[in-house]
Amino acid sequence: MAMVADNAKPSIIGWISSIIPLGLFAALLYFVPQVTAGHVFQIQLDWIPSLGIALSIAIDGLSLLFALIICFVGFFVTLYAADYLPKKAAAGKFFVYLHSFLLSMLGLVMADNLLAMFVFWELTTIISYLLIGFECELETARRNARQALLVTGAGGLALLIGFLLLGSISNTYDLSRITLQAAAIKTDPLYMVVLTMVFIGAFTKSAQVPFHFWLPNAMSAPTPISAFLHSATMVKAGIYLLARLHPILGGTFAWMGTLVVTGGITALVGSVLAMKASDLKRILAFTTMMALGILTMFLGGKTTPALTAAMTFLMVHSLYKSSLFLVVGIIDHQTGTRNINHLGGLLKAMPITACAAATAALSMAGFPLFLGFIGKEIMYKGALTEEWFPFFATTAALLANALMTAVAGIIIIKPFLGTLQKSPRLPREAPWTMWLGPVFMGGLGLVFGIIPDWIGNWLIKPAVRAFHPSMENIQLKLFHGINEPLLLSIATLSLGALFYLLKQPLRQTIDYVLRQIPIRFEHLYTGGLEGIAKIARMQNRILQNGSLHRYLSIIIGSVILGVGLPFVFGYIPFDFVRYPYPSLSAWLLGGIIIVAVVAAVATKTRLLAICSLGVVGAGIAMLFLINGAPDVALTQLLVETLTVIIVSLVLLRLPRLSARRPKLSAGKIWNGILAIAMGALITALIQAVNQTDLQRSLTDFFEANSYIAAHGRNIVNVILVDFRSLDTLGEITVVALAGLASYGLIRKRKVQ
């Protein structure tokens, strides 16, 4: 589905609002020299001081690298989206989401407080939900958005648990202060729990196996969003988290083992699936998965080359992948399709786009002179120095990189070379705002590839130093001499070429193998969702079937169980023998109540039943009165009166009760048992209350202060309208809302 209108005017909002990321980028550049010199900028604002949550901002090398990437890509994506969006689309909404996302992402990478960081983390999840589901009239967009939200949201909850535990272990939520206690945290008994929770958070966000399935589905977002969120920024949040927590949690066997293995598997799965896919955007999504896997794998290491490899590849990947996504968006926008099988020969029609695509793809393939080559060299150097599983890491990196080379070939050769294929729209070059981003980012890949020192010294070294203080000096260089990494690079390129030539049989093999695997993680997800819905339906059927009788039985039954069991097991001191002897009038009233109860149960007419219940209520009110509670008695009497009126209004419209004596059914016996049990329970409760010493401190307080502070002698009323008026406000709100709700129900019946 392409969002296209041929004569669409570019969105002014997009152009104007691109000032936000551009301005932020310029502002961030200002920090570069001092951060490179090792300075950390810190600002602290109190947020919720009582909970120790501060909005602390810290800008160090790591934050700065991420922030610069976010603003840089954000600027080109904004500019691009101004032309990409169709005329009818709600451009205002789109750019508000986009820039809110950009700001939350910046907050995430600059927050120096775990809880503030968590808030930004969740914000990115929520805004990404809105963006993936931007074309909300499409069923698939809604489903995919929900899937991404649920998967990353669940991860976010796990992360919150991890953060809270981390905070409780170290008694602070400030990252910089937690870092000082790293040694103690690693030996804490809760370390493994914290680690697991943080990993779940990072793995869901960064689409690691087995949580990877949401990422390709998230491609239902508009392409600029995919370029921004699902390649350069949001999916890197998990990577950022791992890097940020590396000095605190990293370096243990659990950390290294998990990250290297998970990352390696994710990289392999991603690159294999990328070979198989035919939708250009899905191909890119799987290659992003591969990149995230590689990044995770290298963050598992603790040597300087491994961590430098992670940061370098982060930069490399952001440049070429955003560029490629934008190119795919242009192809989609200009031709109307992004199926690789329907594309070909676009070079002549779209030369500039083709150039941008070529530079990006060559960087992705890792050709010499491109930044991707440097990234790959340092990657092999890092993999070889890993303390654990260096062989696994090197092999995984080699295979994944070779497959990337082949995929880069597929992306660039198939659509642009060969004969022109028939596409839904006649292809022509895109407007400059659209190709500017890909050209710029692709070009930077070449410039930095030739002069790697610039980013090496200014961005990558400070970033690594921020979470790996004891670093040795690693120079990014085009040519290191003939050594193992160079040989591995040559092997990668040759293997990649081989894979490209064998792509047809390779695809068939992958297809075949995939069909042999019985489980899909996505099916586990949908199965889980269906299971929850099934349980909900079942409990609805049992507990909430719409019958008032059922509701009452459940409520009374649970009260009997919940309050009655402590009695049975003797948790409530209670002695039947110490019975206060009632007065004669109490006996009389009791007799009247019992007669009325029997009448209510035995009668054949509704009116008599209602009136009998009214008598019961009035009798109880009288009991209150003779025991010295006139206020309660008055209210009780009035409530009973009104109840009789309202219930008669309802019940008198129902058909007469049957004239025959009703049969004694099992249901009726059960009702009787419930009623008697409830009555017995209340009696026992009152007895138990009477037998304990009442705390009189509150009563004394109210008696002493009622008149002085609230000018009233009726303590009950003074409590209601003055001392506890907030409670009363809540109660009358409930009364009014319940009234409105029942009014709605009554009117609904009438309409039907």
């Binding site: 006139p630 206020d631 008055l634 209210t635 009035l638 409530v639 009166t641 009104l642 009126i645 309202i646 209004l649 309802v650 419209r653 502070a709 609230a710 000018h711 009233g712 002698r713 009726n714 009950v716 009323n717 003074v718 209601l720 309208v721 003055d722 008026s725 907030l726 009363t728 406000l729 009358i732 709100t733 009364v735 009014a736 319940a738 009234g739 409105l740 029942s742 009014y743 009554i746 009117r747 019946r749 009438k750």
Partner: protein, 137 residues
Amino acid sequence: MPSLILKTATRLLVGLILTFSIYLLLRGHNAPGGGFAAALVAGTGFAMFAIAEGPAVVRQAVRIAPQMIAMGGLGLALASGLVAPLTGQPFFTGIWWIWEKEQASELAIGTPLFFDVGVYFAVLGTILTLILALEEN
């Protein structure tokens, strides 16, 4: 068809009942009564009226839609709590205006009184909503 006796008695009684309900409302601070009880009394009066004369007559007599009465009562109760924050005291602190009279007796009028009136209208409005809807059904 309601009986003549009921109709006649209702005419006499409703006025009395409503007066009594206002009496209950105002005395509530010092003796049994208060907004809630008073509203129940008034509700009973209106219910009688509705049974005798039909809901349409009651609606006409009341003029304001019962739901609006309930919401107005809620609003008044809330507003009475908001007076205190305006003077810098915590939400729902009672604010009093006191007139001293002879022989050490005083007339105190405070926000809790308005709160109680709010309770009265909230509850009365709810009861009226229900009774009228049921009668019309």
